[in-house]
């Protein structure tokens, strides 16, 4: 699978161009590649036209505003919502009213906290542990 | 409309396609993966089945010589059967019956 690197500033223009060429947006995949030292996320845009496929790859740190390609592709609505909810990437134009209903206390379940592995990220429940009498 | 009218009239004289469950048991196919069973004496409590289980339904303790499966968590995939070195795991063709209480299937060696 070959991916084409692009910048997030060029993304919307490129999406329009691809739409003009007849490419169909198949999916948007966000992956968190953060390590202990840096926060890094990649967003892949998968396009298809008949039997050909193309993949655009955008890197982001997951904190700054992120462009939306909703104006070019109407079916990006759910996909961008999921991007925001699963990875916490603040996609432009996606307001508080979210399409995917997660439980309130779960925030961005696919986001990797720096220096914290997935396994230790269980939601901590305050246990009313009995304090042993002195 | 007429096709269905004909079918409806024909169905009146046909035997019914449904069964009187739970009084009549469900027929299951040959070699169906119904419920997980263990051929106890062969088991060496290696714990490979527990590691391969995608549903985390099997617990094995080598020290206590204890093997246990939660049939309601088991997804009947047979991953444990594939990895078992002693071939002591297998499937019954009959499905797990409806029950009022959940209980685990246990084996102590």
């Amino acid at each position: 699978m070959r991916t084409e690197e692009t910048k997030k500033e060029n993304l919307v223009a490129q999406a329009y161009e691809m739409k003009k060429e007849g490419w169909r947006l198949v999916c948007i995949t966000g992956t968190d590649l953060s390590t202990d030292s840096e926060q890094k996320m990649e967003v892949l845009y998968h396009f298809a036209r008949e039997n050909e496929v193309r993949h655009l790859r955008v890197e982001t740190d997951g904190t700054e505003n992120y462009p939306s390609i909703l104006s070019a592709y109407a079916n990006a609505l759910f996909l961008e919502n999921e991007l925001k909810e699963m990875l916490g990437i603040p996609v432009d134009g996606i307001k508080g009213e979210l399409l995917l209903r997660l439980e309130d206390e779960v925030k961005a379940p696919l986001k990797r906290l720096r220096g914290v592995s997935y396994e230790t990220r269980e939601i901590k429940v305050e246990k009313n542990a009995e304090v042993a009498p002195q | 409309m007429l096709t269905m009218l004909k079918n409806a009239i024909l169905n009146l004289v046909k035997p019914s396609a449904t069964i009187n469950y739970p009084f009549t048991p469900i027929p299951s196919a040959k070699e169906a993966r119904g419920a997980l069973k263990i051929d106890g004496p062969l088991c060496i409590f290696c714990g490979l089945c527990s590691k391969a289980c995608p549903a985390q339904a099997i617990q094995v303790s080598r020290a206590d010589k204890h093997w246990e499966v939660d049939p309601y968590q088991c997804v009947n995939c047979g991953a444990c059967v594939d990895v078992c070195p002693k071939k002591c795991l297998g499937f019954e063709e009959k499905y797990t019956a409806a029950a009022q209480k959940k209980s685990n299937v246990e084996f102590n060696g």
Binding site: L99 | R33, G78
Partner: protein
Amino acid sequence: MKTVIPFGPQHPVLPEPFHVKLHMEGETIEGLDLQVGYCHRGLERIFQTDYKKVTFLIERICGICSFLHTLGYVRAVEEIMELTVPRRALIIRTIMAELERIHSHLLIIGLYGDALGYENYFMQSWRDRELVMELLEYISGNRVNYAMNQVGGVRRDLDEDRVKAAHKAIDELEKRTGDISKVLLNDVSIKLRTQGIAKLSKEDAIALGTVGPVARASGVAYDVRNTGYLIYPELNFKPIWETAGDNYARMQVRIRELFESYRMVREALKLLETEGSGEIMLAIKPNQRPNGQAFVRTEAPRGECFHYVKANGTPDLERVRVRTPTYANIYALTKMLPGADLADLPVAVVTIDPCLSCTDR
């Protein structure tokens, strides 16, 4: 009079939860807001585990197209690991995939009858569907989640008895489907209710990125089986499409696809018989692990299903992304429904064949 009607998340016609807020003018729908995500199970997070276990877990995305999910996933992993799957395994996978399509289409054809208030027709198609369910159980050992695929091949072979049983079941099914299709295509009351209703134009179908029978009914002759995976090129597969784009056409596509599937299953079974027994599973060494990423498209019964797998050389996968057909199709409801009657809503919802447990994962 303007009213707002909540439709779902719990509603008798929906087996799965999604919410539609209908803005009504009398009995006519003026607009609708759509909300999904009520049964999110965080499966994509759970998939970040041993790639062998994921094969069984990914089936649990959906009960109806469970084989297609393993197929897509396994194809992606095989592409990463550069494995060449034995030919017999490919043929068996094709047979399973098509049997599953038959099962899924018969199911939705039945539900379509239910949405139309046509109970007898609903019961009849579900009775006939039982034949293919029994066949699938006989072949794979399970009725719903077949656990048939594994990275490198399939886990069960089709012996002579099973091939014979499959031939018999397909013959019977074809006969019975003929009966159902007569009703579905010619029944006056069904025609009155579905023709020309909830139309989706070709332009909208393309713009909204619809896939599968929904797109094909609107005149977009797009079927992923054309890209030539498994042994579809050998079976002379041709996509089936209609141009009307209404409720009737969407079901017409499905019933015609059934006959195409019967033909392909028969040909694949003949291939199995003529080529004789062979290997069905590649042996994978314990230290052989996927490293890399792959993107795979598979035609599920409901349309194009997409799987993306990213692995990093450890047994645990880094990311598995699934985009199911309903995800692409459900948004088309907002274009189809305005102007239709309230009575047409359940029918239109059923004709896009929504699978919300797929969508939410």
